[in-house]
């Protein structure tokens, strides 16, 4: 069996990131803990295949993501109404709303007004493939190559999913900000 002490030392370093990723994938704390525990077991079982000196966090998150994909109940995509979104959507909307004349950082005005749960709600509106990529992107300092490795897709796919995912997320964030009265809406994509 693999060296448990060595394995426990490594999981101590990735526990926080693993939980945050799991929390954003599963959408609640209990399921996130279950997923992290499940990934821990799977990672330990496969620890002999981990190449020492390589990125343990990426290796662990790859296992966690695969377990999530395997265990989750399949849901239909939620974002049909957001299919067509222009580039730099949030910027354009902020411009139309007069936010850009504000001496403060307009992106922060929008973001500071949103609670964490509202940001997560916007993230959760993305179709699964974009959401997974966005979670890896926003919660880690991973390069496109590392995200591609974790999700087991080509780098070009990461790039295109991030590009599209960012646009969709901006649209979803703006909708939430309008609903909350943080900004005055009305303009469309």
């Amino acid at each position: 069996m693999a060296d448990r002490d060595e394995f426990e030392n490594l999981i101590e370093m990735v526990a926080g990131t693993a939980y945050r990723v799991a929390w954003n994938l599963t959408k609640n704390s209990d399921d996130a803990v279950d997923l992290v525990q499940d990934a821990t077991i799977q990672a330990y079982k496969g620890f002999d295949s981990f190449v020492k000196g390589t990125n343990f966090k990426a290796w662990f998150l790859k296992i966690l993501t695969n377990r999530y994909l395997k265990l989750r109940a399949r849901k239909s995509a939620e974002l049909s109404s957001l299919d067509e979104v222009g580039d730099v959507f949030l910027y354009q909307q902020a411009k139309r709303s007069g936010l850009l004349g504000n001496p403060d950082d307009p992106a922060r005005i929008v973001m500071d007004g949103l609670e964490l749960n509202e940001v997560r709600a916007a993230l959760n509106r993305l179709p699964e493939e974009f959401r997974l990529t966005a979670v890896m992107y926003f919660l880690n300092d991973f390069s496109y190559e590392q995200i591609a490795d974790v999700l087991e897709v080509p780098v070009g796919t990461v790039r295109s999913r991030l590009h599209r995912g960012r646009k969709l997320l901006q649209r979803a964030l703006w909708d939430v900000a309008v609903e909350r009265g943080i900004v005055v809406g009305g303009a469309n994509a």
């Binding site: 939980y19 730099v88 973001m111 496109y144």
Partner: protein, 77 residues
Amino acid sequence: MPEMDCTEAFKRLDDFLDRQLTSEEMEAVKLHLQKCQCCAEEFQFEESLIRSLRSKLAHIDLPCDLLQKMKNALDQL
């Protein structure tokens, strides 16, 4: 590399923010942003948005017994 216009710079927005461009392209975009206030404003907005999103999503409280639960899971084996 020839001087970049707004369209060419905008095409590279995501890759610029994620440092996925070659050093030559990075410099060309930076040069354009120094000259074009409109593009600079857009790029700054996008950069700030990504930073704010990362900061917001990082603020998730961990369960105090998370690590113990991970270790306990190993005891099931």
